[in-house]
C-alpha cells in the first residue's frame, strides 16, 4: 500500500512541477523565418481599442495577405489579470500582441523584461522621431529600447457646459489659472447651483495626476525616488482641497458615477483626457452643442497647461511563436496614418503619431462641441506634455495617493501629514528613497 501511495505522490508532484515549468522555452521559434510573415496572430484588447484594431485588419492584409489577425475583445482588467498570470508562468496562453495602458507599462517592463519582445532589435527605432518625447519615454526601457509601440495618447483639457457657463455669465476663455477656475466655480455654484467638477475621491486621483504632470512632476522623480512630498505635490492637493472646501467638488463613486454626473448636468466641467469626448457624445447625445473644451488651467499665469491622462501601447510577448507577423501588425498599426485616423473618427481614440495631426480632419469644427476645433486643441497639447516617470510601483503609488486624497478631503487630515504618510508607506513597501 505504501508503494502505491508514494507512486501517486511522486506522480502528482512531478505533474505539478512539469505544469509549472513547461512552455518556458517556446520563444525561440518564430514563424515564417526569412520570407514574408504568414500564419495567424491573436491580438488582445478591450472596448473601443479592440474595435479600432479590428478595423485596421483589412488595411493590414492588403500589405500582408498571408497573415490572419484575430482580435479578441477581453475586458480591460481581464487583460491585465491574464497578462500578469501568463507572464509570471513563462508565457502560457498569451496572445501575439497585447494592448497595455502607458501608465501600467513600466510595471510590466521592469517585472518581466525578458518576456516582452525588444522592438528596437527589429528596427522600431526608425520610427522614434514620429512620436513626442513623452510617448517615447513611456514605451522605452532604461536603455532607450522599445519594449512596446506607442499608440494612443491622452492629452488633457477641461470639458465644460457652454450653456451653464453662459447662464452664470462666466467666460471660459478667461480661465487661465486654477485660481481663475475656482473663482469661476464659485460664481457658477452661486448663480446656477451646479458644482464645478466630479472627483471619485476615494478611488481615483486623476485630477492630481493631471495637475502634477503639467508641472513636470509626478509620484516619482527621474531617478525613481519618491516625490510625493514635493512643493508641486503639496500645492496640487492644497488647490484640490480649496475646491472641495468651497463645495465645488461632487464626490462620485467610481467611473459610472462620474459619467452619470456628466450626463445629468450635475457638474459644469470635467477635466479629463481627450478620450472622454467619446464618452460624452456617446452617453449624452441630447446635449449636442452644449459642450465646449478649454485647456487645463495653469498654476501661474503663462505656466504650462499641457498634461496627459491615459493612452496605451502595443507589446509583443516573447512567448509569441509568430514574432514576424506580430511585429508587422504592430508596426503597421502604430506607424501608418490610416489606422490612426480610422480609430479617431470612428472611436475617438487620439493618435500619438504626430504626422497624423497634419490631416485635414484635425482642422474640422465639431458640431457637438459648439463648433470648436477640439482635435486641434488637443493636438496642440501633445508636444508640451512633460515626461513622467511612472516606474514599476505606479499602481502602489496611485492607491496610496488616492488614500491620501480621501484622508485630506473626507477625514480632514492636513496635506503635509497625508502626503508624508503616503510617502513613508511607499518607501517602506518599495525600498525607494524619499526626496527631501
Amino acid at each position: 500500500m505504501k508503494k502505491w501511495l508514494s507512486l501517486a505522490l511522486t506522480l502528482g508532484l512531478s505533474v505539478g512541477v512539469m505544469a509549472a515549468c513547461s512552455d518556458e522555452s517556446s520563444s525561440e521559434n518564430s514563424g515564417g523565418e526569412g520570407g514574408e510573415p504568414s500564419g495567424e496572430i491573436t491580438v488582445w484588447g478591450w472596448n473601443v481599442a479592440a474595435q479600432s484594431m479590428e478595423m485596421a485588419v483589412e488595411g493590414f492584409q492588403e500589405e500582408y495577405p498571408d497573415v490572419d489577425v484575430k482580435v479578441e475583445d477581453i475586458g480591460r482588467l481581464d487583460v491585465y489579470d491574464k497578462l500578469t498570470v501568463g507572464l509570471a508562468s513563462g508565457g502560457n496562453g498569451l496572445p501575439d500582441v497585447v494592448l497595455v495602458e502607458s501608465d501600467r507599462l513600466a510595471n510590466y517592463m521592469s517585472e518581466f523584461p525578458d518576456s516582452l519582445t525588444n522592438l528596437s532589435e527589429r528596427g522600431y527605432d526608425d520610427h522614434s522621431d514620429k512620436f513626442g518625447e513623452y510617448k517615447n519615454s513611456v514605451t522605452q526601457n532604461a536603455d532607450g529600447e522599445y519594449l512596446a509601440a506607442p499608440w494612443d495618447i491622452g492629452p488633457a483639457a477641461v470639458f465644460y457646459r457652454t450653456d451653464i457657463f453662459e447662464e452664470a455669465g462666466v467666460n471660459a476663455e478667461e480661465i487661465e489659472t486654477w485660481d481663475d477656475y475656482i473663482e469661476a466655480g464659485k460664481t457658477i455654484k452661486e448663480k446656477t447651483g451646479v458644482k464645478m467638477g466630479p472627483i471619485d475621491i476615494a478611488a481615483d486621483d486623476a485630477l492630481y495626476r493631471m495637475m502634477m504632470n503639467q508641472q513636470g512632476a509626478y509620484y516619482f522623480d527621474e531617478e525613481g525616488n519618491i516625490d510625493l512630498t514635493s512643493d508641486e505635490s503639496k500645492r496640487t492637493f492644497e488647490t484640490i482641497k480649496e475646491m472641495h472646501e468651497a463645495d465645488l467638488v461632487l464626490n462620485n463613486d467610481g467611473w459610472n458615477g462620474v459619467v452619470s454626473a456628466t450626463v445629468n448636468g450635475e457638474v459644469a466641467t470635467v477635466p479629463f483626457g481627450v478620450w472622454y469626448s467619446g464618452t460624452i457624445t456617446d452617453q449624452a447625445p441630447d446635449l449636442d452643442g452644449k459642450w465646449g473644451v478649454f485647456q487645463l488651467p495653469a498654476f501661474e499665469e503663462g505656466g504650462n497647461r499641457a498634461a496627459n491622462l491615459g493612452g496605451s501601447d502595443l507589446a509583443i510577448p516573447s512567448s509569441s511563436d509568430n514574432q514576424d507577423a506580430a511585429y508587422a501588425f504592430v508596426e503597421y498599426f502604430t506607424t501608418e496614418e490610416d489606422p490612426q485616423m480610422t480609430a479617431l473618427k470612428e472611436r475617438g481614440i487620439f493618435p500619438s503619431l504626430e504626422s497624423a495631426y497634419e490631416n485635414e480632419y484635425f482642422k474640422q469644427e465639431v458640431e457637438y462641441f459648439s463648433n470648436q476645433q477640439i482635435y486641434e486643441t488637443f493636438a496642440n497639447v501633445v508636444p508640451d506634455i512633460p515626461v513622467a516617470n511612472y516606474t514599476s510601483d505606479y499602481s502602489r503609488a496611485l492607491k496610496l495617493v488616492s488614500d491620501a486624497q480621501a484622508s485630506i478631503l473626507l477625514d480632514g487630515q492636513s496635506v503635509d501629514e497625508a502626503l508624508q504618510n503616503a510617502a513613508d508607506t511607499l518607501a517602506n513597501d518599495t525600498d525607494r528613497e524619499i526626496n527631501e
Binding site: L11, L13, A88, E111, A406, S407
Partner: protein, 313 residues
Amino acid sequence: MSQSNANATSSVETSTSPNPQPKKERRKWITPRTAPYIFIAPAVLLFLIFTVYPVISSFLLSFQEGKAGNFSFVWFDNYIRLFQDKLFYKALGNTFIILLIQVPIQLFLAVIIATALNSKLIKMKSFFRIAYFMPAITALVAASIIFMILLDENYGLVNYLLSLIGVEPVGWLTDPFWSKVSLMLVITWRWTGYNMVIFLAGLQNIPASLYEAAEMDGASKLRQFFYITIPQLKPIFLFTFVLSTIGTLQLFDEPYILTDGGPNNATLTVTLYLYQNGFQYFDFGYASAIAYVLVLIIGVLSWLQMKVAGEDK
C-alpha cells in the same frame, strides 16, 4: 476538498484489511486489492496538483522576493516587513471589527429567525425558509453589484427613500464609517439565512419532551428559550461561530466589488490586501507571507474557540 479526501483515504484503509485470495496464474492490474486505489487515484492526483503543490509552493514563495522576474531567497524579510506594515494592521483591524460586531449580530438573528420558523404559530414556513436562505446561494458578484447600485450616494434607492423622510444623503460606500456599516449589512444579508438553516436543524434535534416538561412546570416561552433552547444549541453555536470566523477572516468578494477596500482603506480586509500585493503590485512573495500569517491566525482562533467551548463540558 481536503475534508472529503481525508474521508476517502480513511475508508480505503479500512477496506484493504488482509484479504485472503487464491493465487492466480495471470497477473491482473485490477484486483479487489488495488481497485480502491485506482478509484481514488484521480481525486488524490487532483488534490496533490491543485492543493498540496500550491500550498508548498506558496510557502516557499513567502521566503522569496521577485525582482524583474527572478526570485531569490530573502528568508524572513517578507515577514519582518509584514509586522511593520501599517496597512496590514489596518486590514487586520478592519477584519476583527467586522468579526466582533457582525458575527454576533448575524448569529443572534439566525437563532431568532430559526426559532420563529420552528414554532407552530408561523404559516408558510417553507416560503420563509427559502426566502431567508436565498441570499446564500445568489451569485456573489451579482448581489454585490445590486447593493452597489442601491447604496450609491447620489443615485441610489436607499438614499432616495431616506430623502423622502428628510434625511441628508449618506455616503454609504464613500464615507469611512458608513462603508464599514454597509459592508456588514451586506454580509449579514448574505449569511444569516445560511446559519439559520443550521440552527433550524439543531432545533429539530432538541427532544420535545424537554419543552413538555417545562410547560408542565409552568415555565414561560421566554424561559424555555433561555434555559432549554440556548443550552441545547451549544454545539451548533460553536460550529457556526467557527465557520463564521473563518469566513470573515477570508472576506474578499464583497469589499472588492463594493468599495475596493476604500475609502482610505476603511474596508480593506486581509485577503483583499493579499490580492492587491500579489496581482496588482506583483509582489508575490509578500502576498504569500500574508497568506501564511492569515492561516496561522485562523488556526489559532479556531483552536481557541474549540478549547473555550469544550472546557465546561
